[in-house]
């Protein structure tokens, strides 16, 4: 079956009606950096890491529909510089001390930094004060590392049917909040098998007592680039490969 195509960095990418640029690119084996996008969920379009130029205009690849004949630029120096700056902003607006983080080596934010050749944090650090919630017997919530991708919010609401998480406040005062009478995780409905407990791309929501099963240095992104890894993971997600 033949598909219409758009042009991505000089390569013709086939797509099916209704696919986003991200979905079509992933199916065709082209990685576009992204953090808030996860093919199992409705796109959120908030982190802007996936920004590409479509016919000269900036668009989020994870939400923008593919259409025939588009000229799309993604892997350019300018766009990657912007992506690196966005990643640096995510680092300085939280508290990301990778050497002391259980997620190190498996973290999508860190791996995105590696992919983009991020060597420093560039901006002054905010060192915000955000409370850790260790009350739950099986799950740790370390808000210092939250990047507000809302994957846990979407997972809890759309998959677990529980609505455990939400984002409160605006701008730098954003906080991940827990829907429970005390505001503590232990009094919420969250359980360790919930999608919301598994989906965090960074080290903000962690399953307790499993953090060091794989030694540092032998983890996913110690071994390979996030581009390769994300394509392998996401191409197997439903509905992304062409017939």
């Amino acid at each position: 079956m033949s598909h219409p195509t758009f042009n991505l960095d000089g390569q013709d990418i086939p797509f099916s009606e209704g696919q986003t640029l991200m979905e079509a690119a992933t199916a065709a084996g082209v990685y576009i950096p992204h953090l808030c996008h996860n093919p199992e969920f409705t796109p959120h379009g908030s982190c802007k890491l996936c920004t590409v130029k479509v016919n000269g205009r900036n668009c989020s690849a994870c939400t923008f529909p593919a259409s025939a004949g588009q000229q799309v630029l993604s892997n350019t120096r300018e766009l990657n510089d912007t992506r690196r700056a966005l990643t640096q902003m995510l680092f300085v607006e939280g508290n990301h001390l990778c050497p002391g983080c259980e997620k190190s080596g498996d973290c999508l934010l860190q791996a995105t930094g590696y992919h983009l050749g991020m060597l420093n944090s560039r901006f002054p650090h905010f060192f915000p004060h955000r409370a850790v919630d260790a009350s739950h017997p099986d799950i740790l919530l370390d808000r210092d590392r939250c990047i507000f991708c809302e994957l846990c919010v979407r997972a809890s609401r759309d998959m677990d049917g529980k609505n455990v998480f939400g984002i409160a406040g605006r701008g730098i005062h954003n906080q991940l909040v827990v829907n429970s009478p005390t505001g503590l995780l232990k009094d919420s409905e969250l359980t360790v098998t919930d999608k919301a407990a598994q989906v965090c791309p960074v080290g903000a929501i962690l399953i307790k007592r499993h953090g060091f099963e794989t030694p540092i240095g032998q983890r996913t992104f110690d071994r390979q680039d996030i581009g390769t890894e994300a394509l392998a993971r996401e191409q197997t997600a439903e509905g992304l490969t062409h017939d």
Binding site: F91, N95, C98, P99, S104, N120, D225
Partner: protein
């Protein structure tokens, strides 16, 4: 090359792990010494930089007034200043204290903490004053290069210094890029 590269190093609010990792170059240190010479460094025990130093490697962030003073002196004397390791680059683990008021930190360490004997907050005029927060060095001086890692591996130091010595723009291949 006629003159050897001069290299100064210092450890600010760090754990000396970056310096230990530097020494992990092992026998390559001998090769390095054919192209470079140490200036001020804890490794030579030279206390102040020569007037001009080619490369200054700074381990650790800024946790007290002396760190800031040392860093400024380094910047003045070093043609190329390099932030080495997580603490120099983002404050690192010492920055874990940044959301705890300084008074509370001192109280815990010297007055109320478990195992404290002869409680009393040290207050000798010779002791540098603590900053209220730990800061990465790029917030105080211009930094020319960054070598991430906790610590950066010996291979990272080697790659960086041999690139510079050969007149190449230093670059780290992705397997050498780590924040942990």
């Amino acid at each position: 090359m006629t003159e050897k590269l001069t290299v100064a190093t210092t450890s600010l609010a760090g754990c000396f792990g970056c310096h230990m990792s530097f020494l992990d170059m092992d026998e390559r240190l001998l090769e390095l010494m054919t192209i470079a010479r140490f200036d001020r460094s804890p490794l030579t025990d030279i206390k102040h930089c020569s007037e001009r130093v080619d490369i200054g490697l700074v381990e650790g962030g800024l946790c007290n007034a002396e760190n800031v003073h040392t860093l400024r002196e380094f910047r003045r004397h070093c043609n190329i200043l390099v932030a080495v390791g997580a603490c120099a680059i983002n404050g690192g683990l010492p920055a874990l204290r940044n959301h705890i008021p300084l008074e509370e930190c001192l109280r815990e360490a010297y007055l109320d903490g478990i195992g404290v004997e002869q409680p009393g907050i040290p207050n000798d005029p010779e002791l540098p004053l603590l900053l209220d927060q730990v800061h990465p060095i790029h917030e105080v001086v211009v930094v020319d290069y960054f070598l991430p890692g906790c610590p950066p591996s010996a291979d990272v130091f080697w790659k960086f210094l041999t690139d510079l010595a050969a007149g190449r723009e230093p670059s780290l291949p992705s397997p050498m890029l780590h924040y942990d």
